[in-house]
């Protein structure tokens, strides 16, 4: 089980790789689309990378509810096996 810090830093790595977001900018209150300029196709890539890294499944209807970095961290914490 990854800790919250590990999830946050792992997610930051994915955001940097896929969308060029600086790790320092990937803080929980940030909105992916509005603050970090992540487009819808990149969100799908990020979700796939999160699934592979943390062993979670993100159904499409759940992905639509993940709006901020914090939402993603909470989702991973709740669903990781």
């Amino acid at each position: 089980m990854a800790t919250t810090e590990e999830i946050q830093s792992g997610l930051a790595e994915i955001l940097e790789e896929v969308a060029g977001v600086l790790p320092a900018d990937a803080t929980p209150e940030k909105s992916f689309t509005e603050d970090l300029d992540v487009d819808s196709l990149s969100m799908v890539e990020i979700a796939t990378a999160v699934e592979d890294k943390f062993g979670v499944a993100i159904p499409d209807d759940e992905l639509a509810n993940i709006r901020t970095v914090g939402d993603a961290i909470s989702f991973i914490e709740k669903n990781q096996s």
């Binding site: 896929v18 969308a19 060029g20 196709l41 990149s42 799908v44 890539e45 796939t48």
Partner: protein
């Protein structure tokens, strides 16, 4: 009818990462051909290729690069170079068009994503797969960057696509639909599937023991083309528009001709009758007499049948007075980019008054049509040039000829 002028050039090829380095290497007679090093190459009968001299992903922002297929990356790099070379024209976006031809578009993405699908299932196919594999992706990526709104087009005509891109650019300006067009071609498909397919057609040279001598246009010992990759783009402008903004002018794109053999899917019509038709149409479109053509940058892929048919076409349409160069001897065959890159060579030949040498044409084919041509072999030839032709032909029977005149 107003002239259409060339004001900017951009290319990335097996000889260099830009136009200047490519042209310098070409005039030195250097070869851009090498051997495949990938593990899959061991099974291939043909292992000689023309790989890009400069890796494109290293010259692009990393996040940008991962969202573009390799052919889109090099189209974008060539477009940036050409646009900067033209002095970044200030043009109404609604008067700016892009035309980038290709043979197969984002083939590498198609094949890589198919591997993902087979190995990991549909949920692991990239959401970027479709925009990266679609053939119009290169034109769209360049159009997006330059904010071109007068139309973004993609001729798909195999190895004639780059020339057809330039021909269509000419048409757009002549028809009054654009003032400035970024036109050419891009191709990057060095991969086991295309190589196996071309090999099964016996189209590729298997001179694996001597890569630099593998591409041998018009030579008796030629045994097929060498697959290359590259991109070439030129900036075309209505002459009044270019002069009004004080642009440098490399050459005039005086005319273009397009025809189709409609003879066989892949074999050229043996006499080159319809290749000759394209050249004649280009001369007519340019209002230029065949006798004025001092140089032909030939398609000359070094396939046994193609070079003979082309020799016939050149003799029929132009005669034996033009200095002919087969530059694929150094670049390999960049498929849908080759016509555009060779158009750039033709433009620079006019600017510098020099015809590049054909390499590896050591023992010319005995065919009387080849024997009759004035093929410049070995070192380049300084000469006086006023007008020159670049011709390109593609599977499907496509024939395109472009006529350029000195600025």
């Amino acid at each position: 009818m107003s002239d259409i002028v060339v004001t900017g050039l951009g290319a990335t090829t097996p000889l260099g990462g830009d136009v200047a380095s490519t042209w310098a290497a070409l005039l030195e007679g250097r070869s851009g051909i090498g051997l495949l090093t990938e593990a899959w190459a061991e099974q291939m009968p043909a292992r000689v290729i023309g790989r890009l001299a400069v890796e494109p992903s290293e010259r692009l922002d990393r996040v940008k690069a991962r969202r573009l297929d390799r052919c889109q990356q090099i189209a974008l790099l060539a477009a940036r170079e050409a646009w900067a070379d033209a002095g970044s024209p200030e043009v109404d976006p609604e008067r700016l068009a892009v035309v980038i031809g290709t043979g197969v578009g984002g083939a590498l993405t198609m094949l890589d994503q198919d591997d993902e699908l087979e190995e990991r299932g549909p949920s692991r196919v990239s959401p970027m797969a479709v925009p990266m594999l679609m053939p119009n992706g290169s034109a769209a990526a360049v159009g997006l960057e330059l904010q071109a709104r007068a139309g973004v087009h993609t001729p798909v005509s195999a190895c004639a696509a780059g020339s057809e891109g330039i021909s269509l650019g000419l048409d757009l300006i002549r028809a009054g639909r654009a003032d400035v067009v970024v036109a050419g071609g891009a191709e990057a498909c060095i991969h086991p599937l295309p190589m196996a397919g071309f090999s099964r057609m016996r189209a590729l040279s298997t001179r694996n023991d001597d890569p630099k001598r593998a591409s041998r246009p018009f030579d008796k010992g030629r045994d097929g083309f060498v697959l290359g990759e590259g991109a070439g783009l030129i900036v075309l402008e209505r002459a009044e528009f270019a002069r009004a903004r004080g642009a440098q002018i490399y050459a005039v794109l005086a005319g273009a001709g397009v025809s189709c053999d409609s003879f066989d899917m892949v074999q050229p019509q043996p006499e080159g009758d319809y290749a000759a038709l394209a050249i004649r149409l280009a001369l007519r479109s340019a209002g230029i007499d065949a006798a004025e053509i001092g140089h032909v940058n030939a398609h000359a892929t070094a396939t046994p049948a193609g070079d003979i048919a082309e020799a016939g076409a050149i003799l029929n349409a132009i005669g034996d007075g033009a200095a002919v160069a087969g530059t694929k001897s150094m670049t390999g065959h960049m498929l849908g980019a080759s016509g555009a890159v060779e158009a750039i060579f033709t433009i620079l030949a006019l600017r510098d008054q020099i015809v590049p040498g054909t390499q590896n044409a050591e023992d010319l084919d005995d065919d009387p049509r080849v024997q009759a041509l004035d093929i410049v072999r070995g070192a380049p030839r300084k000469t006086t040039l006023r007008a020159a032709v670049n011709d390109s032909f593609g599977f499907g029977g496509h024939n395109v000829a472009l006529v350029f005149t000195a600025a």
